[in-house]
Each structure stands twice: as C-alpha cells, then as structure tokens.
C-alpha cells in the first residue's frame, strides 16, 4: 500500500500548526481575563486555561514530529516490507505451482510411455507367438503329408504282396490237388480241371 501524505493533508497539518501557534495568544488573553475557574482554590487542572497555550504548543511540536516520522520513514518502510513479503510469497507459490505442474506432466508422460511400451510388448509377443504357431503348423503339415505318402506306399506294397501271395497259394493248391488225386485214383487230372476245382472251393470257402 503506497503511503504518501497528500498535499491537502500537509496543508491541513500546516493550518493546524499555524492555528495552534496563534491560539495561545487568544487563549492567554482569555486566561488573563479569568485567572481561574474555581475562584480562590487552584483550578481543576484540565480546565486551567493558563496551561492551554503550552500544551497546544508542545502537542503541535510532538504530533507534528510524529506525523513527519511516520509519513516519511516508518510507514513507507513497513509498507515496503509488507509488499515485499506479499510478492515473495506470491512468487514462491507460483514457483511451487509451476514445479507441481511440471512434475504432474512428467508423471503423465511416464504413464503414457509405460502403457505404450506395455502395448508394444504385447504386440511383439503376439507376433512372435503367431509366427511360431504358423511355422510349427507348416512343419506339421509337411510331416503329415510325408507320413501319408509313406503309409499309402506301404499299403500298396502290402496289397501287392498279398495278391502275389494269394496267386502262389492257388498254384500251390492246384498242384497239391493234382498230386492228391493222382495218389488216390491213379489218374492224373489236367491242370485246368484242378485249378477250376480249387477255384470252386475257394469261392465256397
């Protein structure tokens, strides 16, 4: 708060001092006319007119000095101290608020970075999982294909072996039949007869 005694106040004070310095003349004249208010005894001190001039005189001097000391030295200084403290506190509060805002921004940035990194990590893990699944699937498919081919080959081999074995068995059967008939009847049946008979038996069989 700026403390500046206005021109008018100073004028008022000057007027006061002037009136005070002239007042004793009037007052002392009145005092001379009425020496004391209560007659023969000494006047009641606060109403003793003879002391008025001196009191006003010294009041003007002391109060003037006080006004001068306060308005030029004390009050501007105390006002400056209070202003300085107010600005210091305001500045410190501002600084603190800025620091806090900065800290909050940093924390926010850290949080976003963290979530992003977490998302990235999940993506990478997913991609790795996908590729590995795909690779293993492909390998399984090829292995399965190879196995199926081998199985089919094996089955074909078995079938061929079986048919050849079966023809061998028929040939052997008809020869055995010829031999048995020859031994039993002495007659040798023709190969065709024997093989037909074997076929009949096999067909029944």
């Amino acid at each position: 708060m700026p403390v500046r005694s206005s021109r008018f106040v100073r004028q008022g004070l000057a007027g006061f001092v002037a009136s005070v310095l002239t007042a004793p003349l009037v007052v002392s004249a009145a005092g001379a006319a009425t020496p004391s208010l209560s007659g023969e005894k000494a006047a009641f001190p606060p109403f003793d007119v003879t002391t008025f001039a001196g009191q006003l005189f010294w009041l003007a001097i002391t109060f003037g000095a006080l006004y001068w000391l306060m308005s030029t030295i004390a009050l501007p200084r105390v006002g400056a101290i209070l202003d300085e403290r107010a600005t210091t506190i305001a500045r410190d509060l501002d600084n603190a608020a800025q620091m806090q805002a900065k800290a909050e921004a940093t924390a926010l940035a850290y949080e976003t970075a963290l979530t992003e990194a977490r998302k990235n990590a999940q993506g990478i893990a997913q991609a790795a999982r996908d590729t590995s699944t795909k690779a293993s699937d492909a390998r399984r498919h090829t292995v399965e294909g190879e196995l199926a081919a081998k199985l089919a080959q094996a089955e074909a081999t078995i079938a061929a072996t079986k048919t050849s074995a079966m023809t061998n068995v028929r040939g052997l059967g008809s020869e055995v039949a010829v031999a048995i008939v020859t031994k039993l009847t002495g007659q040798t049946p023709s190969a065709t007869e024997a093989s037909e008979a074997v076929d009949q038996v096999l067909a029944r069989g």
Partner: protein, 253 residues
C-alpha cells in the same frame, strides 16, 4: 498521590513545568504533559522505526508489532474510506498511535495522562476537522457544502435540514474531543478514588479495615477496564476520524 490519608484524585492531572519557557509573555514551558507527549512519540518511533529497521522478510517481535499496528490501521482506513482513503493513512495512523500510546503510558502508576486534558483532545479533534474542511473545500470546492444539503428532502424542509446538518457537523469535533477526554479523566479519577479508599481503610486499623479488599478488588477490575478503554478510545477516535475524513473524500449524501 494521596496527601496523608485524604483522597486527592485531582493532583494526577496537575501540570508541572519542568523547563520554564515564556516568550512574549506566553507560558510555553516544557511540562510533565509535554514530557509524556515526547515519551509517546519516542515509544511509537521505537516500535515503528527501530522495529522495522531490520526489514526482515520473517519478522522479529518488534517488527511484528509494527506490522500488526500498520495492518490494523490500514484495514480500518480502507474499510471506512476505501483504497483512496490511504492518502489519509499517515494522519489516521499518527492519531491512533498517539492517542493509544498516551492512554497506555497514562496507565503506568505515577505517570501523566496526556489525553486526560481537554485542550489536547480538542487540539487533535480540531486537527481532524480542519483537515476535513480544508481537503473537502480544496478538492470539491463549493460542492463540498452539498454535505449539508440532504438529497431527496422536500424544498420547504431544506433550511431546517441544513441547520441540523451544520449543527451535527459542528458538534463533531466537540464530541470527538469530549469523548476521549471524559473517558480518560473519569477512569483515572475512579482508579484514584478506589485506591484512596484502600489507603483510608488500612491507615488506621479499625473494624472497617476488614472491608479494604472490596475497593482493592474494584480497583483491580477498574485497571483492567481502563486498559480496555485506553485501546477502545484510541480506536474510536481513529475510526471516527476516518468517518469524518470520508465525508471530505465523498461529500455526497
């Protein structure tokens, strides 16, 4: 100071010249009253000037006192007159501190109460009113006298209203001076009277000596009351000065 056993509550107000000074036949002697005026200015300066000389951001005790009084008076001034009232701040501050310190110095036993003399309180009241008049007329010219003309009154009532307003304005310095003077005078007389009763009752041992504690208790209670009055009257003086100065700032009714 009771002479003998009697009560003399008046002698405490006696003006005793210390250094005789009589130019042009005027008695301008430096008296005990002048001495206590100087004491008051010294005490205020010690608090306000020495107290603030450190200019500490974190104040010490004396600087705190200086700051508290500053802020107290400043809030009173701005509360009554607003921000522009701060141009009267040094005046109101000086008045408040002078009256308060003079009142409180008067509470020291055996000291002199400057404000118990009607001429001193009248001097301060006249100072306030002359500042109001000089500032009001210099700032607002004849417009200042609009203070005495209430707005919205019927025309035939205006003369009476102006008369009443002038009388009420003229009675301001009288009430301002008499209030402070009467309070300080009566309080100090009361203290002396009750103190004198204690002395009277205990001076000669009799059956009535048993009653001595009664005025003693009253004197103690009165002392507490007087401290309150010392502050309150200084505050009332300052706030009324603010109210009157506000009229000089804003003479509109």
């Amino acid at each position: 100071m009771a002479a003998g056993v009697g009560i003399d509550p008046i002698s405490q107000f006696q003006i005793k010249p210390i250094i005789g000074l009589r130019p042009f036949g005027l008695d301008l002697s430096f008296s005990n009253a002048s001495l206590f005026m100087v004491f008051a200015v010294g005490v205020i300066s010690a608090i306000m000037i020495y107290g603030s000389s450190q200019r500490a951001v974190v104040p010490g005790r004396l600087q705190s006192l200086a700051e508290i009084t500053y802020e107290f008076v400043a809030s009173t001034v701005t509360g009554v007159m607003g921000r522009e009232g701060m141009k009267f701040f040094p005046l109101v501050f000086s008045l408040f501190m002078f009256v308060l310190t003079a009142n409180l110095l008067g509470m020291i036993p055996g000291s002199f109460t400057v404000t118990s003399h009607i001429i001193v309180t009248t001097g301060l009241a006249v100072l306030v009113i002359s500042v109001v008049l000089i500032y009001g007329i210099a700032k607002h010219g004849s417009h200042f006298f609009g203070l005495f003309v209430p707005s919205g009154a019927p025309a035939w009532l205006i003369p009476f209203m102006v008369l009443i307003e002038v009388v009420s304005f003229a009675s301001r310095p009288i009430s301002l001076a008499l209030r402070l003077f009467g309070n300080m005078l009566a309080g100090h007389i009361g203290l002396k009277v009750f103190g004198g009763f204690v002395v009277m009752l205990t001076a000669q041992v009799s059956i009535f000596t048993v009653l001595a504690p009664l005025p003693m208790i009253l004197a103690i209670a009165l002392t507490a009351l007087e401290f309150l009055v010392a502050f309150l009257q200084a505050y009332v003086f300052a706030i009324l000065a603010c109210v009157y100065l506000n009229d000089a700032l804003h003479p509109g009714h």
